[in-house]
Amino acid sequence: MKTAISLPTKGAMGKTGTWRVFRPTIDLEKCIKCWRCWIFCPDAAIARNEYPVIDYDYCKGCGICANECPVNAIEMGREEK
């Protein structure tokens, strides 16, 4: 019998990174590690490592990180496919 139990995992609804039109890239030399991108990313696609790391499987390319970065270390470029 099937029960109505779902086991949530990362990306249960698929890899939403395929929606992306603009691709963020981080200039690590400029980054001051304020973690604003990490806290504001709607898709939790930025992980905290030594520096912020973008998970392109889930990044939808909204551009919030680039807009909120206080030192303009994140640049949005058109996705090439």
Binding site: G11, T16, I64
Partner: protein, 293 residues
Amino acid sequence: MNIKDLSDEILFTPGHTACAGCGAPPIVRNIMKIFGKDTIIYTPANCLLVFGGTYPYLAWKVPYFHEAFENTGACISGVARALRKQGKKTLVVGIAGDGGTYDIGIQALSGAAERNEDVIYICYDNEAYMNTGIQRSGSTPYGAATTTTPAGTKIPGKLDHKKDMAEIMRAHEVPYVATMSIAHQRDFLEKAKKARDVEGFRYLHIISPCPTGWRFDPSLTIEMSRKAVDSGMWTLFEAEYGEITNIYKPKKKIPVKEYLMGQGRFRHFTPEMVEELQRWVDHKWKRIYGEEP
């Protein structure tokens, strides 16, 4: 509360289907970092339910359930009482949108507040019924164009002003009421932490800009919540047992026009309409801060 001290654990996982630039996921993800794993989430019908909790595609890593639109207050009351009877201290959190709070869910919410149930009620306010296709709600501000109040030759968008829901909840004299904005992260996290630690009914009201419904570029979501606070369209305060204990006052008040300009829903505004909205904001400013803007 410092950003660096926040945990790395994600209880609202990526891979959900919210629109790019949605304001709700950063709100719930960061709030869950404070509330922790020992939490039960309830959501009525809203965007958050559709993009984060349609079986079997759940983004929540904590127990989660949903029922009808209007009974958020009643459902979380029952769950909390059953848990307290078993001696468990699990947090019970209801997350509703503005439609489920301002219009449809207000009677159950008011009842739960009056009985002082030991729950947290969160309203994430995107100022219309976005989930069903941008219909007007009690929260939609004056003049905003929605699909049920389109700006045309007969009417210039919504004719009425926004209802002040946080003040209605403050009038219930519950242990904790707070209005929040994710753009003010430190304030946001402090208030979430306080809500977690207080006992009794707690109401959190959070602005959540919607790029699809408000018609602005997805990258401006956080900027919109910041501008809403700076212009006075949104006020940040805390109240305990009906008494305001903390008010955030913007350093420099910007004219409401600056907030309106970036949004497509206000594109049809005439100078008279801007003036009418500014009058409303100034009145609210005076009521809350007790001084002329």
